[in-house]
């Protein structure tokens, strides 16, 4: 039960962070990617700031025997860089540039129930569905 509330709080904090930093504004995201035009580098600080805090926390967390709330740590397995990773990241980059939304901010913006982001999330789910059809787990 405690796990659910901690998850809720973390999700809330993450959502507020994405909103305050401007990651949920498609025009700002596209401005960040527009290096050959009117480049808006401010979102660099969002990523650098998040990595700074997260990376520091990670060093301390790894020294612990186990997590505070859950029974074990859930870490992704170590895998090599492969074609799937590169193709996936490239496709993601194109979609991100066209729409100005990546998954987290899109889900945060879904709370606004505005037409364009709702369509984006529906088609994002469709993309996930197609992937899972082509590459069953």
């Amino acid at each position: 039960m405690r796990e659910i509330f901690v998850a809720l709080f973390c999700g809330f904090l993450f959502g507020v962070g994405l909103l305050l930093s401007g990651m949920t504004l498609p025009q700002k995201v596209i401005g960040f990617l527009d290096v050959f035009g009117a480049w808006d580098p401010t979102l660099v600080f969002v990523m650098v700031g998040a990595i700074g805090v997260n990376g520091l926390a990670y060093v301390f967390i790894r020294r612990r025997q186990g997590p505070v709330v859950a029974s074990t740590f859930h870490l992704p397995p170590k895998r090599p860089v492969d074609g799937k990773l590169l193709c996936g990241a490239a496709l993601f980059g194109v979609g991100w540039a066209l729409a100005g939304y990546c998954p987290g901010p899109a889900l945060v913006s879904l709370a606004s129930l505005q037409g364009d982001v709702t369509v984006f999330v529906i088609f994002m789910a469709a993309g996930i569905w197609v992937h899972n059809r082509l590459f069953p787990i």
Binding site: N54, A90, F92, G93, C102, I128, V130
Partner: protein, 53 residues
């Protein structure tokens, strides 16, 4: 594209860019450089069409 790419690439801006790089994962660093690079290229190509140069 975003849904399919995130699944195929095993992560997004938050998963690879923030959580992965913070864990010193090479895969995440490569993925992040790739999607930001391709994203910048896509915006550039799109701007050529929009401004009609």
């Amino acid at each position: 594209l975003v849904g399919f790419g995130t699944r195929l690439g095993g992560g997004c801006t938050s998963g690879h860019g923030v959580c992965g790089i913070s864990r010193f994962s090479l895969r995440s660093l490569v993925a992040t450089v790739t999607f930001i690079g391709v994203g910048m290229l896509a915006v550039f190509i799109l701007s050529l069409f929009v401004h009609g140069r």
